[in-house]
């Protein structure tokens, strides 16, 4: 089963225009103005190189703004890196934001199909998985109601159920389990474990260190856009805490 991700010397630069030029008028006028371009650049990622082999569960931790989400979006194919080469082999199911592709006006049922085709699956495939998705989401009769009437928990449940049920070869998870009640979180965790045992590659981002050490074989630590550690989860969490200025080796593994 394929499912490897390779990042090789990846840089990601965002141009933070102080005055964002989005009109033709300004673009023409700016030709006559002098601007300091280098000052507007924000390097979200610098020289990122790592390998995720098929079937591995890799965690990604780092402070807010360290570049985690940018890295995930590059892996998911939403962003293209400024420099460097990214190879992703396998069917990716991104759980970057649950229900990202939902149309609020459509019913849960229609959104299952919309979300499926947005991820490049066929409608027939989705029809086959439909019952399982509805069952896992525990939406029952609400499935025929427009999702704009859903609670945030229902929304997330349906989003998770779809993303988890499209036979992914690479599952990218970004802090999505913060929503939903404890019972559903446990159910999602169990589901992720089952997917993992099926040989799926997992790329997991979380601020919950317990779940990272619990789920991942290997953890990457990002610090201000640079990869500072790649290896043992326990050691990664320690380093992460040290970098945060809260070094306390004794509590590296909270229960």
């Amino acid at each position: 089963m394929p499912g490897n991700i390779t990042f090789s010397h990846v840089d990601m630069c965002f141009r933070m225009r102080r005055e964002k030029v989005t009109t033709l008028k300004e673009a023409v006028l700016n030709r006559f103005r002098r601007r300091n371009r280098a000052a507007d650049e924000l390097w979200a990622l610098r020289g990122i190189t790592f390998d995720v082999r098929a079937g591995e569960s890799v965690g990604l931790i780092g402070h807010n703004g360290s570049g985690k989400s940018t890295l995930l979006k590059i892996a998911a194919g939403v962003l293209k890196p400024t420099h460097g080469v990214v190879t992703v082999r396998g069917r990716v199911s991104p759980m970057i934001e649950l229900g990202a592709g939902f149309d609020a006006e459509l019913t849960g049922r229609d959104n299952i199909f919309l979300n499926g085709v947005l991820m490049g699956h066929s409608r027939r495939e989705m029809a086959r998985k439909f019952d399982r998705i509805v069952e896992f989401s525990e939406l029952g009769e609400f499935i025929d109601m427009p999702v704009k009437n859903y609670s945030s928990g229902m929304y997330a449940r349906l989003g998770f159920a779809i993303a988890a049920d499209v036979d992914p070869e690479i599952l990218i998870i970004d802090e999505v389990l913060a929503v939903g009640d404890e019972r559903f979180q446990a159910k999602c965790m169990a589901r992720i474990r089952t997917i993992r045992e099926g040989g799926c590659t997992i790329f997991y981002v979380s601020h919950g260190m317990a779940s990272v050490t619990d789920l991942c074989d290997r953890v990457l630590v990002l610090h201000h856009g640079q990869l500072v550690f790649d290896g043992n989860p326990g050691r990664a969490v320690e380093l992460y805490r040290e970098l945060q200025g809260m070094a306390a080796p004794g509590i590296a593994h909270p229960a």
Partner: protein
């Protein structure tokens, strides 16, 4: 070679997404209103009524069966102008999806054109009725409308891709698009027959107006519907040339800048 075809195989993989987006757009417009399809047909019907009154009755332009001639050109023109204006907003309207989902971005303008193509095909039915009533009974030449629709569709896709991308970089381009299509409409033989342009005295104006990529494509509809015969090879050749150029140019521009869109939302 694979690098060249890869974006297209990617688009092909997402064909069901395009179909679904088209279906969603049509469903919203046709199902959720009592008048349904009438809303889509109302615009060309009203335009035909007004233009017929103004040009045929008041200004006496002297084209027999003017409503049939007008509508034959107005329907493909509506495909072009409405698709381009709507596509221009398609990437901006879907920026939430583009930021989060890795589907190829071209699906958004393509689905706009797809839904307007369905409108065009639907409106051919009332046009056939009108033509019949006005004594221009549809004959075998109507079969040419199939390639004509494909040519118009290809031409429209190319331009729609260009405008949707430009709009992301330059938001004020929407005003230019409105003006462009207004001017272009009057310069294209839709409310007057093409012979009028050939009679122009000034060779410069005649030459410039003769080079109108929309004209041969519109003619591919007017000739089978109004004159009831197959268009000549020169017209078809020109239409195919412009359609291919628009399609190739549109995809080339879109694919080469699409990765930068996300930084401009």
């Amino acid at each position: 070679m694979t690098a060249l075809t890869q974006p297209f195989s990617e688009l092909f993989r997402y064909r069901e997404l395009i179909a679904l987006l088209v279906g969603r757009d049509l469903k919203v417009r046709y199902k959720r209103s009592v008048l349904g399809m009438a809303w889509t047909l109302l615009n060309p019907i009203l335009q035909t009524a007004v233009y017929t009154l103004v040009f045929s009755k008041i200004m006496k332009i002297g084209v027999p069966g003017f409503p049939v001639f007008l509508l034959a050109g107005l329907l493909p023109w509506t495909l072009l102008s409405v698709s381009c204006t709507a596509s221009a907003h398609s990437l901006l309207n879907n920026q939430g999806l583009i930021r989060k989902v890795a589907a190829p971005q071209a699906v958004y303008p393509l689905s706009v054109v797809g839904s307007k193509l369905v409108d065009l095909v639907f409106s051919l039915a009332p046009l056939a009725v009108l033509a019949m009533v006005m004594g221009r009974v549809p004959n075998w030449s109507w079969t040419f409308l199939l390639p004509a629709v494909l040519l118009a569709g290809a031409f429209t896709v190319g331009l729609s891709l260009v405008f949707s991308s430009l709009m992301v970089f330059f938001r004020d381009i929407r005003h230019l698009i409105d003006i462009l299509f207004q001017v272009w409409f009057y310069l294209t033989p839709i409310i007057y027959p093409p012979e009028y342009l050939a009679q122009l005295k000034n060779p410069w104006i005649r030459g410039v107006l003769g080079f109108n990529p929309a004209a041969p494509i519109i003619r591919c509809f007017q000739i089978p519907i109004y004159e009831r015969c197959f268009p000549d090879a020169a017209t078809v050749g020109l239409a195919a040339l412009f359609a291919a150029a628009s399609l190739a140019g549109g995809f080339w521009l879109f694919l080469s800048v699409q990765d930068r869109h996300i930084h401009y939302f």
